[in-house]
């Protein structure tokens, strides 16, 4: 009755890290209640091959739903299948608050006639109540919210529940979809999967971000070079830069872009407007390079360097390469 269903997100036939994070967060609830975690994995035929990995990260059972119409995002059919399964006696549903997770969680909650506690950075379980911490007001206020609905529908902030090895049985059960997944009212006509080798902003422990101070789109090569020197870095941008088409909107960090919280954030030629800070102020260590010593970003930066970013970046890239090589 109290088992927890965790959404195992996949894209393009691969498991996303969000899948392991949702299993990890689901374990917090299940362990507090002496219950099991069941992961639910959707995809085109063959996706079931990833079930073992979910077991290794804490899933007692893996429900595999294979159908050609799950090759692309199919939120209507995914939500219908999960809501039907939840009716069979789960106490909670957990997914990561990624684009896909945020797309399905409210649909499932509404079908079950319950609210959703979104984007939780912490979870505490006491009896039938789950208390979540959730950043609101553009990250400036932490809300502590009590969820008393049954079942509980929760999404967790990417990066807040880091996957750990926690081997459980991972018994595989194949189940069928609810309704016909090919009959969704919303048709996906094209998916650009992006560069699979590229680290996503949400996953990268290091983010190098560029702003208008880079002067021209071509200079983003300097930012990419520094990211490559780190090896575990993704590239972000300000709205000034995505507006000008130098970078895609999906690279934008801030109030109306992505919210990120990496170990290291290097802001290159970024003024530090409040809407940008809203997306990165919780980064662990912040470095800023800006030619204006009064730029607001320096109020926040652990390490500020005043100067021309176009001149400094190649030197920094060389020094990082050297430091990496020296171990």
């Amino acid at each position: 009755m109290t088992n927890v269903l965790a959404f195992a997100e996949s894209r393009g036939g691969d498991l996303r890290r969000a899948a392991l994070e949702s299993v990890t967060a689901a374990r917090v609830i299940a362990d507090a209640r002496g219950a099991e975690v069941h992961a639910i994995l959707f995809g085109a035929p063959g996706i079931g091959a990833h079930a073992a990995k979910l077991g290794a990260h804490g899933a007692d059972k893996v429900l595999v739903v294979e159908h050609a119409a799950f090759a692309n995002n199919n939120p209507e059919a995914v939500a219908a299948t999960i809501a039907a399964r939840m009716g069979g006696g789960y106490g909670a549903f957990v997914c990561a608050a990624t684009a896909t997770g945020k797309d399905i969680a409210p649909r499932i909650a509404a079908k079950l006639k319950v609210p959703v506690a979104s984007d939780a950075t912490q979870l505490a379980v006491k009896g039938g109540t789950i208390t979540v911490t959730h950043p609101g007001y553009t990250g400036k206020i932490l809300l502590s919210l009590s969820l008393t609905a049954t079942p509980a529908v929760v999404s967790v902030r990417p990066g807040a529940f880091l996957p750990n090895t926690n081997a459980k049985a991972g018994a595989v059960e194949s189940i069928g979809p609810t309704g016909d997944p090919s009959a969704s009212r919303v048709k996906v006509t094209e998916t650009a999967t992006g560069n699979a080798a590229k680290l996503d902003l949400g996953d990268a422990p290091v983010i190098i971000s560029g702003g208008r101070g880079l002067k021209e789109a071509a200079n983003f090569k300097l930012v990419e070079d520094l990211a490559a020197a780190f090896g575990n870095a993704a590239v972000g941008a300000t709205r000034a830069v995505t507006d000008d088409g130098w970078r895609p909107h999906s690279d934008q960090i801030g109030q109306t872009g992505r919210l990120v919280s990496p170990n290291l954030y290097i802001a290159c030629g970024i003024s530090g407007a409040i809407q940008h800070l809203a997306g990165m102020r919780t980064s662990k260590t912040i470095v800023a390079i800006n030619k204006d010593k009064d730029a607001p970003i320096f109020k926040l930066a652990d390490y500020g360097v005043v100067g021309d970013v176009v001149e400094i970046l190649p030197v920094l890239t060389a020094a990082v390469k050297q430091a990496k090589a020296a171990g």
Binding site: R11, E76, A97, T98, A99, K102, P106, R107, A109, A110, K113, V114, P115, V116, S118, T131, G136, Y137, K140, I141, L142, S144, L145, L147, T148, A149, R185, V186, K187, V188, T189, E190, T191, A192, N195, D200, G202, P248, H249, S250, Q255, T256, G257, L264, I274, V287, A288, K293, K299, A301, D302, Y303, V305, V306, G307, I312, V315, L316, A319, A323
Partner: protein, 238 residues
């Protein structure tokens, strides 16, 4: 300028003294997108709806000064955080309204659930496309672009439908003086919101830990060796 919020003494609300209320970012984009559709089709009506205390009348007037034709306030004096309760009250009002397209923001700025739009769609039995950054029509087919992490998808759907709006659609226009005058005469209907019992409630608010004050470590390329040393030895990120 950095804005700092203060908490009310109860610890359960934001101190609203000195705060100016405005349409939230994504809702501004949604209002603008709706107005552009109406202008392009040269027909139709744009209605705006908000659930909240009387201060929301200001935002509804602003939307009408941008060009919306009429407004509805579902009056509620608390600050509900239960997304399902809010969605139920909105859906009850929207039900039977004959709307071809219902636009929401991708998320609100205060509670930031990113949930209400898709919930209303479920309650009304309409298809929902979340977080769209482009919207075009071919007859009654909407063609849209959705942003994912590091990727996007193109999707299609027949009206009526619910969409939630990401950045990229349209920047909200500034109301003209003429628009502001006209808005004063446009209908704003206020009626009580019918909210079911809340099962997601606010316990407490807190401010995130302050960052220590920033520090400038040097100038130009001469500062690079010291930066790398600090990243390695102090921050331990290299």
């Amino acid at each position: 300028m950095d804005v700092r919020f203060k908490l009310a003494p109860s610890g359960k609300a934001v101190d609203e003294a000195g705060l100016k209320f405005d349409i939230s970012d994504f809702d501004g984009y949604a209002v603008e997108a709706a107005l552009q559709i109406k202008e392009k089709l040269s027909t139709g009506e744009v209605a705006v709806i908000s659930l909240g205390p009387d201060v929301v009348q200001e935002t509804l007037r602003k939307a009408m000064s941008m060009g919306a034709d009429r407004a509805v306030q579902l009056k509620h004096d608390g600050a509900p955080v239960d997304s399902f309760a809010i969605a139920s009250a909105l859906a009850a009002e929207l039900q039977g309204g004959g709307y071809d397209l219902i636009l929401f923001g991708r998320m609100s700025i205060d509670t930031a659930h990113g949930a209400v739009g898709a919930m209303v769609a479920e309650l009304l039995g309409l298809p929902c496309i979340n977080a769209i950054s482009k919207l075009e029509f071919e007859g009654r087919t909407a063609k849209m672009r959705r942003e994912l992490e590091g990727a996007y998808e193109l999707v299609e759907c027949t009206l009526p439908a619910v969409v939630t709006i990401d950045e990229g659609i349209a920047r909200p226009r500034y109301p003209s003086l003429k628009g502001i005058m006209a808005a004063k005469k446009k209908p704003l209907e206020s009626k009580p919101a019918q909210l079911p019992e809340a099962r997601l409630t606010l316990g407490a608010l807190s401010l995130p830990p302050e960052r220590s004050a920033g520090r400038i470590i040097g100038e130009g390329i001469a500062a690079v060796p010291e930066l790398v040393r600090l990243l390695k030895e102090e921050a331990k990120v290299l």
